[in-house]
């Protein structure tokens, strides 16, 4: 491995786990998610010269992944799974947080995307706006609707019963 490949491994390959987690939630198809991440990383490698050291590598990689995902969707290689037909294919059999995983699965695609990017991956609204090519206000409204939908799925009344209490109760049962 030469020095440039070493740098790429540190900057980009180290994000394979995060990219895979996100890709699974985008595709609901584990093999397709792996292919998507592999293609993302190869595209990143081919444009690594354009990446400026010190800039946000994660945002750069997630943007490539989203572009690749939507590009494949346009070419018919990947399809967005219609609401109601989703199973837990993308959840890797997670059984410790079934309520949350299930609720996330049932969110509309655009809401699930901002919730994953913002809450799980820690991107700012500005970064999500750049990544998705939508105004910040749209990011915030999608995030708000996603939260509301999660609460509805989980049967949470805002500020009367917290999700934490609900999960604790579930564990005790």
């Amino acid at each position: 491995m030469n020095s440039r490949e070493q740098e790429f491994a540190e900057v980009a390959l180290s994000q394979a786990g995060s990219l895979l987690r996100f890709a699974r939630r985008l595709t609901f198809d584990p093999p397709a998610a792996e292919d998507l991440v592999q293609e993302t990383l190869l595209r990143a490698w081919r444009s690594f010269d354009q990446f400026r050291g010190g800039s946000n590598a994660r945002a750069w990689l997630f943007r490539i992944l989203l572009n690749e995902f939507y590009g494949q969707g346009r070419k018919g290689r990947l399809t967005l799974v219609p609401l109601g037909e989703m199973d837990r294919a993308g959840s890797s059999g997670n059984d410790q947080k079934p309520e949350i995983a299930e609720a996330l699965t049932k969110l509309p695609h655009d809401q699930r995307t901002v919730l994953m990017l913002g809450v799980v991956e820690g991107f700012t609204c500005r970064e999500m706006s750049d990544m998705l090519g939508i105004p910040m206000g749209t990011v915030m409204s999608r995030m708000s609707r996603a939260r509301q939908a999660m609460r509805t799925q989980l049967g949470i009344v805002p500020r009367a019963t917290t999700l934490g209490q609900k999960v604790l109760s579930h564990r005790e049962n």
Binding site: A16, Q38, Q96, L115
Partner: protein
């Protein structure tokens, strides 16, 4: 600001994206309004649980992620070592003169005649199945390898990737001897013209034409020219496998 406005700004408050004046205003409101403060705490608790749920999945996916990293690095190494791949001999004829066979350790000047001769040889001997004295017995193959300074391990290495070595003979490309090995898989045949590295430069010759796929690479102790009438994807796959094996 009223509570509705505060709720709208909570995402920016959480990520630290509010400018100073609004940050102060939201902070003051949260300090004075128990409902909004409770809403913020609830969101933070929900976020923490969501992250925790996804972290469980991350642990499960760790092995897959490591495997992906290895696959990507292998592809990067392949791309580094691959010199070129031509879709057809006709296209190749126009570009042959400009192509260099580069290898990390043994830079070799490309020669168009090698590829045009290889294409012609494959067409006559494999596509048209002209009668030739092919060697198939292990002892005969070993003798051919010895005569060309090619390691039996290199020949076997390509076989180990799932392609069966069918037969072999010596041929001449651009006036120089090459070992012509024919590998097969799923009814597809691939000619590999193999030569030990370090030989003298090959002379110029005419190119040819036809509907063939060509590839070449130099790796380790050998340089190889691949010709097949199989589809481009199969040629790419074979080249990738052979390169990785050698």
């Amino acid at each position: 600001m009223n509570c509705g406005e505060i709720h709208e700004l909570l995402p920016l408050w959480t990520t630290g994206e509010l400018e100073a004046s609004r940050r102060l205003a939201v902070g003051a409101h949260l300090h004075d309004c128990p409902d909004c403060a409770a809403e913020l705490r609830q969101r933070e608790a929900e976020d923490a649980l969501l992250r925790e749920a996804m972290a469980v999945e991350s642990a499960r996916d760790l092995m897959t992620a490591r495997d992906l990293e290895r696959r990507v690095m292998r592809r990067i190494a392949d791309e580094r070592s691959r010199r070129w791949l031509w879709p057809s001999v006709a296209a190749a004829a126009a570009t042959l003169a400009a192509v260099l066979l580069l290898t990390q350790h043994h830079p070799v000047q490309a020669n168009p005649a090698v590829f045009s001769d290889a294409a012609r040889d494959h067409t006559v001997e494999i596509v048209q199945k002209a009668a030739r004295h092919w060697r198939t017995a292990p002892a005969e193959l070993a003798a051919l390898e010895d005569s060309q300074g090619i390691s039996d391990a290199d020949v076997k290495a390509v076989e180990a990737t799932g392609y069966r070595l069918e037969r072999a003979k010596i041929c001449r490309l651009a006036g120089l001897p090459y070992m012509h090995l024919v590998y097969a898989k799923d009814g597809r045949e691939f000619s590999v013209y193999m030569r030990a590295t370090g030989g003298k430069p090959v002379p110029e010759a005419d190119s040819t034409s036809g509907n063939l796929q060509l590839a070449s690479f130099a790796r380790g102790r050998v340089q190889a020219v691949i010709v097949t009438d199989a589809p481009r994807g199969d040629c790419l796959q074979f080249t990738r496998d052979a390169e990785a094996a050698l």
